[in-house]
């Protein structure tokens, strides 16, 4: 946790300084009172101070909790990475594959590969899920979901 807090503190510090710099570049108000950059600069300064506090606290941390990593083991991290990757692929391919196909593939992947459900259950749940969402959103709510070149 100590290591994680230190890294988080540094990242937030850099982020908040970037916010301050971005806010400072915004033009001042042309009437009375503060301009567009006023709040971002204030927030950036507050955030920077807080991240320094976090770093100080992290340095003072000790004991058993300080040494433990907050992240899970390799196997779980792999499952998380695969889920994140599958979601990214889904968003990228949604308009090419069309809603029904992309959603069936995503739910099938998550259930069959990541959760290791039996293939028959996986296929039924995946197809049923895509169809159910299609009925709710496209037919009942009138949203036009993406279609592929074949028209579904």
């Amino acid at each position: 946790m100590r290591r994680a807090d230190q890294i988080a503190g540094v990242i937030v510090l850099v982020f908040s300084l970037a916010v301050v710099e971005g806010g400072r570049r915004m033009p001042p108000s042309n009437t009375f009172g503060p301009g567009a950059g006023f709040l971002p600069v204030c927030l950036g300064v507050v955030m920077a101070l807080l991240s320094v506090l976090l770093l100080v606290n992290a340095w003072r941390q000790s004991g058993e909790a300080a040494g433990r990593s907050p992240f899970p083991d390799r196997k779980a991290m792999l499952a998380i990475a695969a889920t994140v990757g599958a979601m990214a692929a889904f968003i990228l391919l949604l308009e090419t594959l069309g809603f029904l196909l992309a959603t069936t593939l995503l739910s099938g992947f998550l259930l069959g590969v990541i959760e290791r459900e039996r293939w028959l259950t996986t296929a039924l749940v995946a197809a049923g899920n895509a169809l159910g969402l299609y009925i709710v959103f496209q037919i009942l709510l009138g949203v036009s979901l993406p279609k592929n070149l074949l028209g579904f």
């Binding site: 994680a4 971005g22 971002p40 907050p70 998380i80 994140v84 959760e115 959103f137 709510l141």
Partner: protein, 502 residues
């Protein structure tokens, strides 16, 4: 009496067949969300925003409010039967509820939980009916400095109580406010942090951020551990569900005491249903003649927290409707939903949209009756849902979230926002940064900024304006106390215990 006139008008709105139907859908879905572990009311409401996007605002908010208090009913079922809270406000219910189930008294525990929820929920709506309009009329005289002080106080209270570390809570809140700055500045028309991306001109879409931060990150966290649970087999018959005379004698006063305490606690920013349920349990243990038996399956240990979480959920509607200030993560999402529908909650809402406000309030009376019916005779059905393994739910949550986010604007970019904030949300959870303040900051950001800049324009840049007007000064002092005084440390230590136990 004006209030009778108003509530009558509310019932006319709430009793239309469409609103009744959606109220039923909301409370049923809320019970489901409450029953299923690993998905709570914040996620449930966030997912519903896009689905209810096409409805009119009153119907949409009736549905979403129903999810919020419906989840409070459902959560107890899971706590009692499998010793796992269905949502965080039912954590304490596990202590005595599960012990009652082990002694073969699952029926009365479930029955008392539903009845206590109903009594508390109804009391909360009555108090809401009386207090919210009064508070709104006081707030009518608020100018920009009062609004800034009010939002500032809300943000500091929520963020300083939201997690294990006050510094991290405040960082989350500040991050939410920074995210709110993205897009075209409403005052000057200046583009801020858009990096030339046209989709960012309107800022980060609220729905994408909320769904990513709560639903997606929740799914990623749950991948780490197996969610399969052992299920206690119990027979459910309606006769078995009714608590006996002794149960009533033990629970009657704890229910009312906890409800009143939790309702007013729910009014305050920062103290949501979870804290209220813990405090109710602690209070009853202190007042009880048999404190040593708490934790072994006493019925008031179920009745008090279940009453408290419902009363607090109702209580949190007061500042939301009357002031436009959310007091918890779920009500922040509700506020976001109101804004999506073009309504600005606050004192003017009672005058400009009375049929909306009173329609929603009246629907809560009806919703509580629906929930009593759903949760008493049908409790066996909800219990059987616990046999659906979480691994089946996970792909459903992911795809519903993604499609819902897409559906609001027919826009792939919003799905990327969800994706990005899903990863940010996961990292925040792992590093123990609370997520609720981010959403609160994002929702309140525009109001904070406008009132701050208007105030400083009025005073020609002199910040003392916040301390020379009495209401504003009082609110600012509360905010500063919550940040600095050791007085808060008591609450703080308590909150820490809450986090440890949960």
């Amino acid at each position: 009496m004006e209030i009778f006139h108003n509530i009558q008008m509310g019932f006319q709105v709430a009793l239309s067949w469409q609103n009744l139907l959606f109220c039923l859908i909301g409370v049923t879905y809320g019970t489901l969300i409450g029953v299923l572990p690993g998905i709570g009311p914040v996620v449930g409401v966030a997912i519903l925003i896009p689905v209810t996007f096409g409805l009119n605002a009153t119907t949409a908010i009736i549905t979403m409010a129903g999810v919020y208090y419906g989840a409070m009913y459902g959560g107890s079922t899971t706590s009692i039967l499998i010793n796992v809270p269905g949502e965080s406000a039912s954590v304490v219910t596990c202590l005595d509820g599960y012990q009652m189930a082990r002694k073969g008294r699952a029926g009365p525990a479930l029955g008392m939980a539903a009845l206590a929820s109903f009594m508390a929920g109804t009391l909360a709506v009555v108090l809401l009916t009386l207090i919210a309009p009064a508070l709104a009329s006081v707030a009518l005289s608020f100018g920009p400095p009062e609004y800034f002080a009010l939002t500032f106080m809300g943000l500091t209270l929520v963020t300083s109580l939201a997690g294990e570390s006050m510094v991290k809570g405040l960082m989350s809140g500040a991050f939410g406010l920074i995210v709110a700055c993205v897009g075209v500045d409403a005052v000057s028309g200046e583009e801020r942090f858009t990096f030339g991306n046209i989709f960012l001109l309107d800022g980060f879409g609220f729905i994408g951020v909320a769904v990513g931060l709560f639903a997606v990150s929740e799914v990623l966290c749950n991948l780490e551990e197996s969610m399969e649970q052992v299920f206690i087999q119990t027979k459910f018959t309606l006769r078995n569900l009714f608590p006996n005379w002794q149960d009533w004698k033990d629970s009657f006063w704890p229910i009312w005491r906890s409800s009143f305490m939790a309702f007013f606690l729910g009014n305050l920013p920062g103290a949501g249903a979870t804290i209220a349920s813990f405090m109710a349990y602690a209070m009853e243990k202190k007042l009880s003649k048999r404190p040593e038996q708490f934790g072994t399956g006493v019925i008031e240990g179920v009745a008090a927290p279940e009453a408290a979480n419902n009363a607090a959920a109702g209580g949190s509607m007061v500042p939301l409707l009357a002031l436009g200030i959310p007091s918890s993560g779920t009500s922040a999402v509700l506020l976001g939903a109101l804004l999506v529908h073009g309504l600005r909650p606050g004192p003017l809402l009672f005058q400009s949209n009375p049929e909306f406000v009173w329609g929603v309030i009246a629907s809560m009376y009806i919703g509580n009756i629906m929930l009593l019916i759903l949760n008493l005779p049908l409790v066996g059905f909800w219990a059987s849902l616990l046999r659906v393994p979480y691994r089946i739910l996970m792909p459903l949550i992911v795809t519903i979230s993604a499609v819902g986010v897409y559906a609001t604007e027919n826009n792939i970019f919003d799905m990327w926002i969800m994706f990005g904030f899903g990863i940010i949300g996961y990292l925040m959870r792992k590093l123990r940064f609370p997520a609720a303040p981010v959403v609160l900051g994002l929702v309140l950001g525009p109001l904070v900024e406008r009132s701050l800049r208007q105030s400083l324009t009025i005073s020609h840049g002199d910040p003392s304006i916040f301390f020379t007007r009495p209401i504003s000064a009082a609110l600012m002092i509360v905010a500063l106390i919550s940040l600095f005084a050791p007085l808060v440390r008591g609450v703080w230590e308590f909150r820490k215990k809450v986090v440890e136990i949960s």
